[in-house]
Each structure stands twice: as C-alpha cells, then as structure tokens.
Assembly symmetry: C2
Homo-oligomer: 358 residues x 2
Amino acid sequence: MRTVFIHGERDIRVTEVAEPALLTGPDASGRDAIVRVVASCVCGSDLWAYRGIRPTERPHGMGHEFIGVVEQVGSAVTTVRAGDFVIAPFYVCCGTCANCRNGWTVHCLNGGFWGTPIKGEGVSDAAQSDRVRVPLADGTLVVVPGGQPADDLIPGLLTLADVLPTGHHAAVSGGVTQGSTVAVVGDGAVGLCAIIAAKRLGAERIVAMSRHADRQALARRFGATDVVAERGDEGIAKLKEMFGGIGPDVVLECVGTKESMDQALRSARPGGQIGFVGVPAGGPELPVETMFRTNVGVRGGVAPVRDYIEELLPEALDGRLESGLVFDTEMPLSEAAAAYAAMDERRAVKVLLRPGQA
Amino acid sequence: MRTVFIHGERDIRVTEVAEPALLTGPDASGRDAIVRVVASCVCGSDLWAYRGIRPTERPHGMGHEFIGVVEQVGSAVTTVRAGDFVIAPFYVCCGTCANCRNGWTVHCLNGGFWGTPIKGEGVSDAAQSDRVRVPLADGTLVVVPGGQPADDLIPGLLTLADVLPTGHHAAVSGGVTQGSTVAVVGDGAVGLCAIIAAKRLGAERIVAMSRHADRQALARRFGATDVVAERGDEGIAKLKEMFGGIGPDVVLECVGTKESMDQALRSARPGGQIGFVGVPAGGPELPVETMFRTNVGVRGGVAPVRDYIEELLPEALDGRLESGLVFDTEMPLSEAAAAYAAMDERRAVKVLLRPGQA
C-alpha cells in the first residue's frame, strides 16, 4: 500500500510500504483494527515540517486525520466491527485511563499520535495512507451510525477528525456562550471551524480577522457577522472600537505565532478570555503581568477531539454543519506533494486526499 | 491627621498631614466622601515596596484596605450617607462605565488605586490613615447594613476590602465548583482566604501547600483537607500521587513568583486550570507550549473585589466566614513601621491597624 512520507523541507513522497497487519503473537493485546482509508487530508500543522520550521530529522509518515471502513479487528475489540464506517481522532486513546475518564482523551496515558509508538501496542500508522492499523481501536474509533455515508457527507465527516472539534475546542476554551462577542484570529480551516463552533454555542457577534476574499466569504457563510482585514495595532483598535471601546469578550487564537497570540491578548476586553488552538511554532511566552493587569485568561491547547465527536456527529450527518466546505480542493493520494504545495502557497484552504483515486 | 508613608526600602514613617476635605469649586463633581477609618491593614503586596523589590522613587502614602464611618458626602452622592459604616475595595470605581457594567470594576475606566490621581476627581488618599477622601463614593463604597458592627466583626469585614474577595477571585478564576480537587500555593492571607473560597464553592478536597505549623492549622480550620509541606519537584510529585497520578483539577496561585507559578502549572492535571492572584513580582512569562501540550488554562489577576463584596458580606456578618482570623496581630496606626517588619519577617500573617489606638 502507499503512504505519504516527508524526507525534508518541501520533500513529500508517496511511497509503497508493506500492508499493515493486526499484531499477533503472545504479547499482542488484540485491541487493534485495520481501517481502509476513505479520505484523509493535509493539516495546517503539517506545514510546520513541510516548511522546515520543525526540522525533519529522519523521513517519517505524515497525516493524522482520516475516516474509513474497518476491515479487520483484533480479538479483544468489542465496540467496532468489520464493515463499520469510522472516524479517527488525530490521536490514539484507550478511553479508560484517568485522563480519558476526565474527558481529556488527547492526554490519554496509554495513547499517542499517529505514526508513533504506542506503549505495548506497536507503532500506529500515519493517516495519509491507503490503510491504517489503529491500536486501541475501542477507545480511538467512533462508529458512524448507518454505515457508509453518502459521498457528499465525506468532507464534513472528515472535519470531525480534527479541524471542526479543534475549532470547537477553541470556542469552549474561550468560554463562548449565549450572547458572547467573539473575534477569531486566523482564517485557516481551524479558524473557520471556530466560527461555526462559536455560532453554534450562541455567540451574538463574531468577527473574522481575514484579508482573503474567499475566506471572508466562507467566514460569513459559517456565521461571522463582521470581517476585519486590519492586523496588529490597527486590527486591535478596530476591535476595541466595535465593542464599546474595550474589545470583545472572547478571542479565539487559531494560528500559533507570537504575533497572533499577542494580537489576541491585546484585543480581548478586561476580564475576557483567549481560547487558543494554534499549534505554537516555538513559543511565544505569555506576559503574565499583562494578564494580571487585564484579567484576560488564556486556555486551550491540543483538542480532545475524541470527546467532542459524538456531540458534533449528528449535526454533521444531517447537514446542519457545513464544515466540509473548508475542503476547497480534492486530490488523489498519489498527488500528495501537490496538495502540500497548494496549502503552503495558500492556493487551497485545506486539501482532501482520496486514496481510491490512485 | 496621620498617614503612613514609605520613604524607601524598610523606611516606613507615620506622618502628620492636612485633614482631607471634599473637593469644592466650579469643577468639583460632588461625588466624593470623607471616611473616618476604623481599621486598615498591611497587605502582602505592600512588602514588594518595603523590601525594595519595587523601588520607591519618591515618598508616598501606603495602604489600600480600609473600613470606616462616613463623615461627609459630596452633593452628588446618592447611595452613601454620613454615619454609614462602609467597606472600601482596594480601588476607586465609578460603577457605570463599560467595564464596571461587565462586572469588572477593578478595570473601571474612570477609577484608579488609592493614593493615585483619579481623572477629574483629585487624588485619592492612601488607606493607612486616620481619614480618607473617597472619590466616586457611590461606585466605590459598600454600605454595611445595620450600622456600626460589633467589634469582633471588624477583622472579618476588613478582609472584604481585599484578601477574602481576592482569594475568592482565585477560586472563581480557577473554575472551582462542586466536587473540585484543589491545591493552594501560598499560605499568606490571600492563600488562606482562597481555601475559604474553594470550600465555599464546593471543593471536595483542598490541599494547602504550607511549611508553617500555625498557617497549616489555620488552613485546616478554613477547610483544607490535606497539607503538603514539600515544594518544587517533590511537592508536585506528592500532588500527582494524591490525585490519581495526574494531579488536582485546579491550582490556586497566591504568591506571584516565578517558582510558585511554575509549581502551579506543573501540578495541575491535564485539562486543569490555574487561578492566579499573586501580584507578579516582575514576570514570569508563561510557557505557552507547555500550556498547549497540557491544556492547563491560566486565568486571574487583580481581583474585582467590589463586585464580590455584596455576595460575601452576609456570610461575613453572620460569622460563617472566619476570614478575620488571618489578622493574627493588631497594632495602633502609630506603630505601622513595626507592623511592616512583623509581616516582612513572617512573625505575623497580616497586621490590622487601628487609627483609634493612637
């Protein structure tokens, strides 16, 4: 089968590898499953490696978002069966440890990320592949009721693997509630999904910070009531002016740079809150004295996607959530290198990869 | 009348100054009041100047916590009358601006701290004095129902000016709720009040981090279920061990040093929250990558004390809240220098100053 490897800066190669197989032998827990990938995709955070911001020390498999059909399950798997259509969050989790029980499956004490060793369960496969071996399948996979969904639902269901629940996590971490005023920093797929989430949680006014006409249009379709194209001091001044001279209640930081976090922190009103999900690309450090003086709280991080999927799934299935529109480009897996380039050059918001179209 | 001045490091002098008077003249707003101080006190944050950590550039009045009796009010004051017994929060606020309306009076757009100029309202007096002119009296002062309270209620009422609602702010910012597990870093007056607040909000288990027998005893009386004397890595390991290997839900940071914040951040469980109210003594910066990886949120700052006083007052008046016990020492105002020294040397948790006992 094929899987996507990165070899270094801007060096993406689709490579033939051995088919994955359930672990066997006396030490095998029987808790894994083999999933045939129906769709995977490229994440904004994959670009840190692609751009060389995070150096690639040795070639490794890429991708952490996929949906697909279960082909085989290990002997100890109880909640997932061959033929099930499943969504995988961007990590492996057991569902039973202290952190999983607390609703923080992303901090599972027994799990880990795709393409990494899982304690006692072998190495999980990367998601930009034809097939994936899923360790701890009961804890990790969410079964979509009703079997294989209609083709037009595929993009929306794939957003449940990461970007939609990550946007939701930004909004939850920011404390968005009925009547909140919200600004969203970042107009990538996650920022756009954060708009969907903020609207869904009852935000009264949602400002998209965006300078791109196509993304502005999508932001408005998703629920943004206002668009601010200015950045830095000008953007902050505009937000203050829009919200009684003091700024919005909540700012959702969906980028991960020093500049975006700084803008978020300086935009929120006194007593406001930053919900952040942008993967920090080396820092920044947060100025605790500023936070003390303003009572602006900061909360967020790597999203506990698995804990949110079941809440969001019904609305994705009945078409109420339009998050699938963040996939503005679709390519066969064989063209993964072009997919990375399109996102790097911002010609695409997010690229969906279909292994089937080899 | 007398007021307490700082002239430099460890140089506290009780000084005779002119009696305060209501502002008069064509520009006077008539919104001020004169209050005879019944009790004031020394705050842990006053020690930053006393110890020279915050340099004293020119001599200035000290103190920001007081309760007393209103002697005169300006012509525009409507909610406070001569003879009323009042609690002053540690700042002046208007009660009507956008931040005050949001419940963030400490960020009042028209107010400020004691001993500083208030826009268009003259300079407010410092609180370690015989009398204080209170600008924006309607917004600032809270009237205690029933007139002059019994003498044994004075310490408890004085804690409403700062330390009790500040401890409450730590607990609120940390998201303490029914069943929370909580660790409190800092066994000063604010840390001890944070224990009271956490218990009041329903925390199931409260760990006081303290190495002093007298403070440990007070912590237990206030509701601490456990005491941990270890600090740094050992203290963190102990907390993790006590709470399922992952740590408590909430850590209340009531000190303000780099070490205490670091300890707090590394103690909370994944997805937990830091409520912080320790005045940062020059930093620290918060490691956003750690926060991202652990989903531990950080929220807090200068407490909106005025917004909490009315909620806490009934329980202070009926004796349910024992926060007055943080005053383990009482001195006449004339001995203010000794009061600072006692707190600096940790011979006293917090010193109450009575102007009456000249």
